[in-house]
Symmetry: C2
Subunit: 198 residues, 2 copies
């Protein structure tokens, strides 16, 4: 009987690891620290993820899971034309806003792991899988908005989003989180630059 009230151990441990990465960095991610954060007896994390690499994999897999669950833009069939563009602006801005507020922990951990993936090929694979999902979705939507170069524009859009996320969490002079309206405005503006330029 594994329900939402008693998340099974791997999930509990992975979430604790993510929280730890966000608040103490990868340096603070320790088998024993995860035990403590999760409120589990010492040794639990070490048992589930014997090596440190396994622990990182666990955390990343859970990030992918949480990051792509229940996103409105991830829904069923994709619309066309102006409706697709509307979805791209609203969905995109909403995704960004959530990543900067309720999902800030997730975002910080993801950035941290992205940097770590620079040095760990196994992580890189998992991280790229996460990225591919967003890239594919963006490509499809952009194509339906009339982009002349959907893959290129998708790459540009993702890059721009990475900039917003990094800059608003770790960049210099980020005194406050942008409001949803600001994000919507900036997103619409950047999309216009991509799609409506002569």
């Amino acid at each position: 009987m594994i329900g939402s009230m008693t998340p099974h151990r791997p999930t509990l441990i992975a979430d604790a690891a993510i929280a730890l990465i966000a608040e103490r960095g990868l340096r603070g991610l320790t088998h024993r620290a995860v035990d403590e954060e999760a409120g589990l007896p010492a040794g639990s994390t070490s048992n589930l993820a014997r090596t440190r690499a396994a622990l990182l994999d666990l955390a990343l897999a859970r990030i992918v899971e949480r990051e792509t669950e229940g996103s409105p833009v991830m829904a069923d069939a994709l619309p066309d034309g102006a409706e697709a563009r509307e979805l791209l602006v609203h969905g995109g801005a909403d995704l960004l806003h959530r990543a900067l507020t309720v999902g800030r922990t997730l975002t910080l951990a993801r950035l941290e792991l992205a940097l770590e993936a620079t040095r760990r090929p196994e992580l890189r694979a998992g991280y790229d899988r996460l990225g591919a999902r967003f890239t594919d979705l963006a490509t499809a939507l952009l194509a339906r908005c009339g982009s002349a170069d959907a893959p290129g524009d998708a790459r540009r859009l993702i890059r721009w989003c990475d900039g917003v996320l990094f800059n608003s969490t770790a960049g210099s002079g980020h005194d406050r989180v942008p409001t949803p309206e600001e994000l919507r405005g900036e997103t619409a503006r950047y999309l216009a630059a991509l799609l409506d330029h002569d």
Copy 2:
């Protein structure tokens, strides 16, 4: 007799620390590891930077120093009009390209420290000082290009650059470094979006 052939110890140690951060992450930054990387006897780093926080400060200060030295765009008096725009495109694209090639180590270390600064106010101060330099310069140049909202556009430009840097070093699917021509094209394109919209 402290010359360029024998960089004095603090610089040598700081550069070793930067290299270490880039190639092993903050987790790999250790007093003893820096000694080894710098080819100095054990204890040298510990003597210069007694605490770990001091070592991080040292590395960041050196990053600021190296990042802002000898940049063509940092030069003397700023031009106006089309010339300013040309400088912004060429200088910006060149800065990006160098940050992704010869300065990759510096860029990686900077990103890593930016994330760390999330948790360390002292670092945040130093990091913001670095950011302010670029922001101020961008603001001045954008104003001379006819930007109606130079501070806002500068923030957008910096954000976009952060995206390019992060995405091209740690992002998903970054199989290769963009060529200087690509970077110039993208930079010109984004600037056009900022300056020539409607």
